[in-house]
Amino acid sequence: MRLGEIVTAGILALFSIYLMVESAKLDVGYISGEGPGGGAWPFWLSAIMLVCTGFIAFNWYRKTSPPSRSEDPVLDEFGVKNLILVGGGLLGFIALIDVISMYGAMALFLIYYVRFLGRHSWWLTLALAIGLPIAFFFFFEGLMRITMPKGLDFTEPFYNVLYDIIY
């Protein structure tokens, strides 16, 4: 954790500098008759962020914050595995939305999580993976009139059937 804390502070300091550079593309000073320039607000806030990372580093050096005294790893073996399995599953879910539609990706993600990570029965898994996307479809598309991504063209015939029910 001790190494992690200072690395994080360093990354955040670099990010603050990046934000300052980006903000400085607009005026960061006071323009007479117009008030503060468009970049002033984010620029000075990013400058405060940079100063804060300096203080965080100073506290790290003095070992006053709990992570700076901790010898534990940031992620242990379980943590790494958990992050890869769950975070990776989510990544796959979001990546698949533009391919097999929001509802299709949702169904696959539920099968993956409930069956393979949760080790629940196939019955429960399929009930959730089929029931939930259908319920969401009628709630969002039917009641709330919010259109979710439908993925590539091959999903069209399937959605035409569902839309016929709503309209």
């Binding site: 954790m1 992690g4 804390e5 994080t8 955040l12 980006e22 903000s23 593309k25 607009l26 007479s32 117009e34 008030g35 503060p36 320039g37 468009g38 970049g39 607000w41 984010p42 806030l45 990013s46 405060i48 962020m49 804060c52 990372t53 203080f55 965080i56 506290n59 914050s65 709990p66 992570p67 940031v74 992620l75 379980f78 943590g79 958990n82 992050l83 769950v86 989510l90 879910f93 979001i94 939305i97 929001m102 949702m106 993600f109 539920l110 999580y113 409930v114 990570l117 949760g118 629940h120 429960l124 939930l132 969401f136 709630f139 709330m144 009139r145 919010i146 259109t147 979710m148 991504p149």
Partner: protein
């Protein structure tokens, strides 16, 4: 006395069978729309506006007001049970509602939220009935310097009383404010902070994308990591006696928060451009400030649920006030209601109370009736929400992830935001590991779009002189309190040092 007569007539109107039915349907719909992450009262009211053309205008606005009320109650439900704010107005409810649910006290949190909402709504209704025209004129005297001073106070409460690492808290506030500035500069119209020229940043970063990323995805990853996937937040059992006991406990420990939320929320709600979200966040901050032991806030204190919930209901009634009396909406939802009224041929403004008194009092009467039904319907649904929590975590977790992704998309209808949300979730997971408080960032992204323009307008008014925040009668005292709060940690540190040297 005349007011009571008019209110009586109004209530009689809202108690007609058609109106009662509309109120019940509206409140129930609102409850579920509010509970759905990514959807808030504004979506519900906007989508159901056309439906109301089927009934007379008086009944139509009663229906919409009932949805508005229901959504205010509903926002708390997902904040407490799932840890994802159902709407921006319920962000502050997660701070203590979620820890209570994790301790197995979800019913206490839900009951406290329902009762506080009811009291907040009732106090607001009474204030509304008695002081509508007077309060509208006071709210109008709040110019940009006063509103900016209020925003400063909201941030200062986090720094002075947060109890977290100070540089990390300030960092969190600033990053939230900078994220709020992404998109177009509101004043010059120039594109700003469009990272790597990705066009998705042009429409800015919606606060829900950050809030769902932090509370939905980041929080879930963190919970799975710290509990080794063996989380237990099961409630033992639900009984009528349990609900009665929880009500008593919620009232006993949450009365202060409820009182603060009811009054402060109402006033912030009246302010143009403020509304229920800043009202609830500020009430949370103030309730924490005046609490006997502010450290308990954030760990699961009923007061931390009561204050924002009383405030968001109170503010939603408050926001109706400038809309009806002056024709200025105090929140996005009231802006849509205003649009509806214009379509129905009613002109909001000072003449409305005279020309359309039956309509106005019918609406005010319906606030009382809706508030009552919202409480009853909400309490009736609590066992269902608790049941959801009893689900095994390996089912609840994927449901929360699915709701987060769908909610993140529904908020802006842009896949760019769903990716951004995942990025925020992963970032939040790591930052949380290093003790960075994230609630201030969420607060800041909500208040940023109010804070920046008011600061710039104020400095323009004063030709760049920051003394404008100190030498105005209302802004001055607020700014001074904010500065004291920001300096509080430094003062405490100096006092500790002096004591050490003395001994």
């Amino acid at each position: 006395m005349e007011i009571l007569g008019l209110l009586g007539d109004g209530m009689a109107l809202s108690l007609q069978p058609l109106n009662i039915l509309l109120i019940m349907v509206g409140v129930t719909l609102g409850l579920f729309i509010g509970a759905m992450p990514g959807l808030g009262s504004v979506n519900g009211v906007a989508i159901l506006l056309p439906v109301t053309f089927l009934v007379p205008p008086g009944s139509a606005i009663i229906f919409l007001a009932a949805i508005y009320y229901g959504a205010m109650y509903g926002g708390a439900i997902s904040s407490i049970t799932l840890g994802i704010p159902g709407a921006s107005t319920a962000v502050a409810t997660t701070f203590d509602g979620r820890p209570l649910a994790l301790k197995g006290r979800a019913s206490l949190a839900l009951v406290t939220a329902a009762i506080a909402s009811f009291i907040g709504g009732t106090v607001a209704n009474i204030l509304f009935t008695m002081f509508a025209p007077l309060l509208a004129s006071v709210a109008l005297s709040f110019g940009p310097p006063e509103i900016f001073a209020l925003m400063l106070l909201a941030f200062a409460t986090f720094v002075g009383l947060g109890g977290d690492d100070i540089p990390k808290t300030i960092f969190s506030i600033c990053i939230g404010l900078v994220f709020a500035a992404v998109g177009f500069d509101q004043i010059s119209g120039a594109p700003r902070l469009v990272f790597f020229d990705i066009s998705g940043f042009l429409h800015g970063i919606n606060f829900l994308v950050l809030a769902i990323g932090v509370y939905g995805i980041g929080e879930m990853l963190w919970t799975l990591d710290t509990t080794r996937g063996k989380i237990t937040s099961t409630e033992t059992k639900m009984s009528v006696k349990g609900i009665v006991d929880d009500s008593k406990e919620g009232m006993k420990r949450g009365w202060k928060g409820t009182t603060i939320g009811s009054f402060l929320g109402f006033f912030v709600g009246i302010l143009p451009a403020a509304g229920a979200t800043p009202g609830s966040l500020m009430s949370y901050g103030v309730a924490k400030m005046v609490a006997k032991n502010p450290k308990e806030f954030g760990q699961g204190h009923p007061g931390g649920v009561a204050a924002p919930e009383a405030a968001n209901n109170s503010a939603s009634t408050g926001a109706m006030l400038p809309m009806l009396t002056l024709g200025i909406p105090g929140s996005p939802t009231t802006a849509i209601l205003l649009g509806g009224m214009v379509i129905w041929g009613l002109t909001p403004g000072p003449r409305l109370f005279v020309d359309q008194s039956e309509f106005v009092w019918g609406l005010i009467g319906s606030f009382y009736v809706s508030n009552f039904f919202a409480l009853v319907i909400n309490l009736a649904f609590i066992p269902l929400f608790i049941w959801m929590l009893r689900m095994p975590f390996t089912i609840l977790a994927p449901l929360i992830f699915v709701l987060s992704v769908v909610g993140g998309f529904a908020a802006t209808r842009d896949m760019h935001d769903v990716w951004l949300m995942l990025g925020f979730g992963l970032g939040a997971f790591f930052l949380r590991k290093f003790d960075y408080p994230l609630a201030p960032a969420v607060l800041a992204i909500v208040l940023g779009p109010i804070a920046e323009p008011t600061l710039r307008q104020s400095l323009l008014l004063s030709s760049g002189d920051p003394m404008i925040f100190l030498n105005r009668p209302i802004a001055g005292p607020i700014t001074i309190i904010a500065i004291i709060l920001i300096l509080l940690p430094v003062l405490n540190w100096a006092r500790g040092k002096m004591r050490k040297t003395a001994t």
